[in-house]
């Protein structure tokens, strides 16, 4: 990389200000394969975001029928056929780790593709820039309007544009809340003013963040606020795809006319500035790789179009790895893109990513849908009864994570002379095995007494929970039985 800003190497004179005023960016409309791909990604992203909460999913009578639902009130997370309880949150943590490693993988394979295509900031900025063009016209009209004094026409256009911004922002902020409650119900409540205050507050906050971040801050979020570009620049290597201006082919630049007059042959770049005009972050890619470049490839579309117009080969600006750039410069054959995508680093990331994914899938298939936990009463630790028998009390929590009522058997393992009964039973009917019903998708708390005859020794034992239906499944919770002689060991 060459120092493209001569000022940075200058002495410590007063000419470098630490503050730079934002230069408004008015990207020009462009069509081309990358632009069309960007349209597609944008459509998919927006459709996923707005559509997901409205997908219905039949889970039977005991669970919500929304495919993706984060039910904070009941502390459940539904995702199609998967239901996550709070104690299974590691699945969500695993998904987040996969998302993180996935970004590493994507970055090492195709550079900042996330930034260029799928990041919400990019998608919404793009959407708002289309609104700009729809209301104000293309780049030049926008620039004229910016300079124009405030008059009725400008006020009208600004009012219209900001209203559309606000409408989109409201749609964006408002859609978020549907992930947290039954979407049709909440929609009705929202418009009739009966939804929870937090729904309105969330909608308001997200409307305003979308309005400000997408409508006004735009590329400044990427350049100043977001940590990800910094991390990504550290993750890129000589095999990562980045948008490259092939200066060895383009320089010295000059218009077609200038080339005719020039004494020495000029490069392919006709200095038409189209790559700068279409750039959504307002940079000049010809200055080399830089943090402002989100690799959206619109300048590739623009340059290809210009090259076609003057009859020169496409790809003066193109996705290229640093390694291939060096090879091309020296006139050596370049590595095909697919080969450079699958280099050891991406393979390692892919391996880690898939390993986590497979482990999660495996854990998901193996996870128990019932659970038992036991807390022993510590005050009093034991109670001596009239006949000298010793009674210990336990609080059992039986989790039924299935969407149907289930019947469980609770049995004693160990404590050979002991028997158990609940606080709703008579001590005389104490037995080694109890049968209890647990409602669907709930945790039932049960007080259970364990009874051992006079002179019993303290002992360690366990409660065993087993489902009686044919799907079965069981869980075991170890605990201890205390007598006047102490605890079990």
């Amino acid at each position: 990389m060459h120092a493209h800003d001569p000022k940075l190497s200058a002495d410590h004179s007063n000419e470098i200000g630490l503050y730079a005023k934002r230069k408004s960016v008015f990207p020009k409309a462009i069509d081309g394969p990358f632009r069309r791909f960007k349209w597609l990604v944008m459509a998919v992203c927006l459709a996923v975001y707005w559509g997901t909460p409205w997908i219905r999913w039949d889970r039977g009578p005991y669970a919500p029928d929304q495919a993706v639902l984060i039910d904070m009130g009941n502390r459940r997370f539904f995702m199609f056929d998967i239901e996550i309880w709070p104690h299974e949150f590691y699945f969500v943590a695993g998904l987040l780790i996969m998302a993180g490693v996935g970004l590493f993988l994507l970055t090492s394979a195709v550079g900042r593709a996330w930034c260029g295509y799928a990041c919400p900031q990019t998608v919404w900025t793009d959407l708002f820039q289309h609104v700009d063009r729809f209301v104000d016209g293309d780049r030049n009209a926008q620039m004229r309007l910016q300079k124009a004094p405030w008059g009725p026409a400008k006020i009208a256009r600004r009012a219209l544009k900001w209203s559309i911004y606000l409408l989109i922002s409201f749609g964006t902020g408002g859609a978020w809340i549907f992930y947290f409650a039954d979407a049709p119900t909440l929609q009705h409540e929202f418009w009739t003013g009966t939804a929870a205050p937090v729904a309105y507050a969330t909608t308001f906050v997200l409307t305003m963040t979308t309005f400000v971040l997408g409508g006004f801050m735009r590329e400044q979020v990427c350049i100043y606020m977001c940590p990800w570009p910094r991390i990504q620049t550290a993750m890129l290597d000589e095999k990562s795809l980045i948008v490259t201006y092939k200066d060895w082919r383009g320089e010295p630049r000059g218009s077609v006319k200038a080339a005719l007059k020039a004494a020495t042959p000029l490069g392919d770049c006709i200095d038409c500035m189209q790559c700068v005009a279409v750039c959504p972050t307002g940079i000049d890619i010809r200055e080399g790789p830089q943090i402002g470049c989100i690799t959206c490839a619109l300048c590739i579309d623009a340059c290809d179009k210009a090259m076609a117009d003057v009859g020169r080969p496409r790809g003066l600006i193109d996705y290229c790895t640093l390694e291939n750039a060096e090879r091309e410069k020296r006139g050596q054959p370049v590595t095909p893109v697919l080969r450079s995508i699958f280099h050891p680093r991406t393979l390692v990331y892919l391996g880690v990513w898939s390993a986590i994914g497979l482990a999660l899938l495996f854990a998901l298939g193996q996870r128990a849908r019932l659970d038992l936990s036991v807390a022993k009463d510590r005050n009093p630790e034991y109670v001596t009864l009239s006949d000298g028998a010793v009674r210990n009390a336990y609080t059992l929590k039986l989790r039924n994570m299935e969407e149907r009522p289930r019947t469980y058997r609770i049995a004693l393992q160990g404590l050979e002379a002991g028997a158990i009964f609940t606080d709703e039973m008579d001590a005389a009917t104490a037995a080694r095995v109890l049968t209890v019903d647990v409602a669907p998708d709930t945790t039932r708390q049960l007080r259970v007494y364990a009874l051992a005859p006079r002179g019993s020794k303290p002992a360690d034992f366990a409660f065993v929970l087993a489902a009686t239906d044919k799907e079965g499944g069981s869980d075991l919770a170890a605990t201890t039985f205390t007598t006047a002689q102490g605890n079990g060991q």
């Binding site: 009093p380 109670v383 009864l385 009239s386 606080d423």
Partner: protein, 303 residues
């Protein structure tokens, strides 16, 4: 220490301190910071006027809004009282047996009783209601006066040995040793006998002698077999539970000097709803008994 000088790179004056070649620029405070600072001062003045702020000798300024943390607490307590008012009214109206029979009321009473127990009862009966020497364990199945919920309620209302309460629980045991009813040797024999029927000792000559003394002096209240009597609050002796202790020394003391445990009459100290909740809570601890079958009214049958 170096002299303040103009810094070349920034054109800002330095403050004149220097440590290991590191100097500090004398930049003015940022505008926004200053304005926030002024805004804080204005806010503080307003706050001092509106809220209690300035300490005086015995009190402090009250503030124009009349806010106080005690007032906040009072408001919260009132709100909580209103929230539970209907439930308390229901508990007030229901009899103790009706509460026991209604799962919703019973649950509420147990929760409320648990809280009231922590305030009023733990001092003697302990946090887990396990009692200690002289203070009954409320978790077990042994009751001095009866373990059904109505009897527990009555014990709570009138207390034990509460002066001035006619219905209070009153058990009387003579101080057999101190009052000279039995000799020291006879007391030891009774101790042996009591420990035998409780299963703590093997039969002995002393216990046999004690059996006869027990028959003559103790059986009238404690029963011939030491089964106790809830009517007079005489503890069951033929079991594994001791109120004061079952070792020889403690039993000797008990028989020599007698024991007179007391409990306040909670009916005159707490409101009726709280007492009902306490009774329900104590009944739920694991030793609660079913209400005895109603005794046929002989007087009515005779008519």
């Amino acid at each position: 220490m170096s002299k303040p000088r103009l810094d070349d790179a920034t054109g800002v004056e330095t403050v004149g301190h220097e440590w290991d070649g590191i100097e500090e620029l004398n930049n003015p405070l940022p505008r926004w910071w200053l304005w926030s600072f002024y805004a804080c001062i204005v806010f503080a003045i307003g706050y001092c006027v509106a809220y209690p702020a300035i300490p005086l000798l015995n009190t402090s300024t009250k503030g124009m809004l009349g806010w106080s943390s005690r007032g906040d607490l009072a408001k919260e307590m009132t709100a909580e009282g209103l929230r539970t008012a209907s439930l308390r009214a229901e508990l007030d109206k229901a009899s103790i047996e009706q509460i026991a029979a209604d799962p919703r009321l019973r649950r509420a009473a147990i929760d409320g009783g648990h809280a009231a127990f922590k305030v009023n009862c733990v001092q003697c009966h302990g946090n887990g209601a396990a009692g200690s020497a002289g203070y009954p364990n409320l978790n077990d199945d042994d009751w001095l006066w009866g373990g059904d919920v109505a009897t527990i309620h009555q014990t709570l209302v009138d207390g034990v040995r509460q002066p001035g309460d006619d219905a209070t629980r009153m058990s009387q045991m003579p101080a057999f040793g101190r009052d000279g009813i039995l000799t020291a040797a006879q007391v030891q024999d009774v101790v042996s006998h009591v420990r035998v029927i409780a299963g703590e000792e093997k039969p002995s000559a002393s216990a046999q002698r004690g059996a006869a003394i027990f028959e003559a002096n103790c059986a009238v209240c404690h029963g011939a077999g030491g089964e106790g009597s809830r009517a007079v609050g005489a503890p069951k002796l033929a079991d594994a539970i001791w109120l004061y202790g079952g070792d020889r020394k403690t039993l000797t003391q008990t028989i020599t000097n007698a024991r007179y445990g007391v409990m306040p009459a909670w009916g005159s100290r707490l409101d009726p709803v709280t007492v009902k909740m306490l009774a329900t809570y104590v009944h739920s601890l694991g030793g609660g008994e079913e209400a005895p079958a109603p005794v046929p009214d002989i007087a009515a049958a005779a008519k």
